[in-house]
Amino acid sequence: MAATSPAPVTLVLGDEELLADRAVSAVVAAAREVDPGLELHDLVGAKVEPGQVSGLTSPSLFGDGAAIVIRSAQDLGKDVIAEVVKYTARPAEGIVLVLAHPGGVKGKALVDGVKKAGAQVLTVSKITKSGERLDFVKGEIRRAGRTIAPDAAQALVDAVGSDLRELAAACSQLAFDTPADRKGIDAAAVARYYRGRAEVTGFTVADAAVEGRLADALEQLRWALGTGVAPVLLVSALAGGLRSLAKVGGAPRNLRGGQLASHLGMPPWKVDRVRRQLGGWRADGIARAIQAVADADEQVKGGGADPAYALEHAVQTIVACRAMTR
């Protein structure tokens, strides 16, 4: 990368911590690129004394460059804010100042002031849409030189949740764990990665059961029960898996793609997955399997039988129903 020096003052504005940290690091790295010998001062807003910024930014005797990072800049005192705003209007040569502010009313004078004084602004707001989260995962995997299938990315988001730090950690771990000869990461890799790590959810059990992987399904069922997943949740996950089969399998033949997905009220990646799961299933098998799940629910709700046994029996019946030729 060509060494272009970053703006003298950068405001990283927004509450998505991971992205804010990354933006700050990127600015510092760019400054280092230009001046490998620069000195880094990493400060937190609440602890910055009046006069400190002026001191750090005043020309040094030896003409050394410096990068000054002020995190949680919303906590800066009134006097310091005035000092920073004033500095921003006339920044010093060779010095890079980075301010990280989460947004919001606290310390808003700083945001308004430095913006007006000509600071570069990088916005890092919280990711709220699931599509953006998927894009984030894809981006993370790409950074690691890999690619990820859409259903695998979705599975990862489903398993990890919305915390970007955790997602980023999972992505880098996943990229690291997947053998180098396989560039693409698929849903199976995500499932393998999560088995035994995160809590096995009812969905993992249900997927294994409807795909006819009996040993896997039983193993994960025991694991789930062992980690405290409530039997009723497992029952409803099994029912959910079969319900999806019935919906996708019974959908009008002329519907495809997005139309089919919206007709069923399911995300497209899920329709694709269920489509693959449908192989081996017939209507009568699905009907019988749901009977077994209803029986299991009755037993779990206090029909007397051991819930673990009732669930195992249901899983076995589901797998057997899949093989039914009529």
Partner: protein, 390 residues
Amino acid sequence: MSVFDDLVGQERAAAVLVQAASAAAEAVAGGRGAGMTHAWLFTGPPGSGRSTAARAFAAALLCPDRGCGHCELCHQVAIGSHPDLESVRPQGLSYSVKQTRELILRAAGAPTLGRWRVVLFEDADRTTEAAANALLKAIEEPPPRTVWLLCSPAPDDMVTTIRSRCRLITLVTPSAAAVANVLATRDSVPPALAEFAARAAQGDIERARRLALDEETRRRREAVLSIPVSLSGVGECISAAERLVKTAEEEAAAATAELNETETTELRKAYGEGSSGKGLNKGLVRGGAGALKELEDRQKSRATRIKRDTLDVALLELVAFYRDVLAVQLGAGVVLANEDRRADIDDLARTTTAERSLRRIDAIMRCRERLAANVNPQIAVEAMTLALRP
């Protein structure tokens, strides 16, 4: 005119009750009162009017005219404000021993107006076993002027010991003609509509009345009865199940919302909250918040029950539909409950066998059992609709 006129098609039960009311009047006048009993158990299928019969009897006991039906006291019994009538209707799925003990205490007092102290206990089968035991003691040694009127669908639903200490009044399913007649004469329903509603409700007077008077109820019945022909494949079965459960939820929500609102307002009034009422618990005097919480729990439990009952009504409608199919298949020359669905019924009767119809009825009954066992409604109903497929 008498309060017993309200009992439709229950001539035998009414005769017994009229006689008992005379004996009771004799006892109040200082006579022997032979034929009067302190504990009664009213049983009969849903809609046969168990609580209507019990209430009529309560009026006959509390009215100086043995239930004239038009005096102030009869009116008070009808609306539940008579000081000597203790009306209980368990709102949740069960009635606790604590609630029962409180009830027994209230029942033990001497009658304010000098005649009888009457406890009308609807759905008494919902008492817990411990509660039933507490009740048993009260029934065994009743204060001289206390009368217990228990209602329960079937005598078997009450513990044997209680049943054996009660005089049994068995109500029967009234004929469609009798129900239609009541709707036409008392609710001014046009004859054709009355006849349709009476048949469709299969002897359940309250259900017939709602079908006749409320268009929304008729619309929901239509929706339920359109299900059998819609079940062509697994996808349709799943969506039909979803519709059934959702409709029941909506109906239950509508029924509970109104009840909850009134109760909560009254409780707030009782605990001295002004009309300003900001925030849920603010402004309530000591103990108010606890009482409010207790009320909310009760309301939640009732909502579950109403939802279950509503779904059950829909399932019974489906049973009636397949019974009609069976009747046609067996060539029984009876009038169908769902005459308005004649074409669908004939179609199914032709294309399937009687054995298949029986199995379908079994599947619906199995679903009712599962619901009673607290199985997730969606799963139970899906299992059912899938079993109803061709």
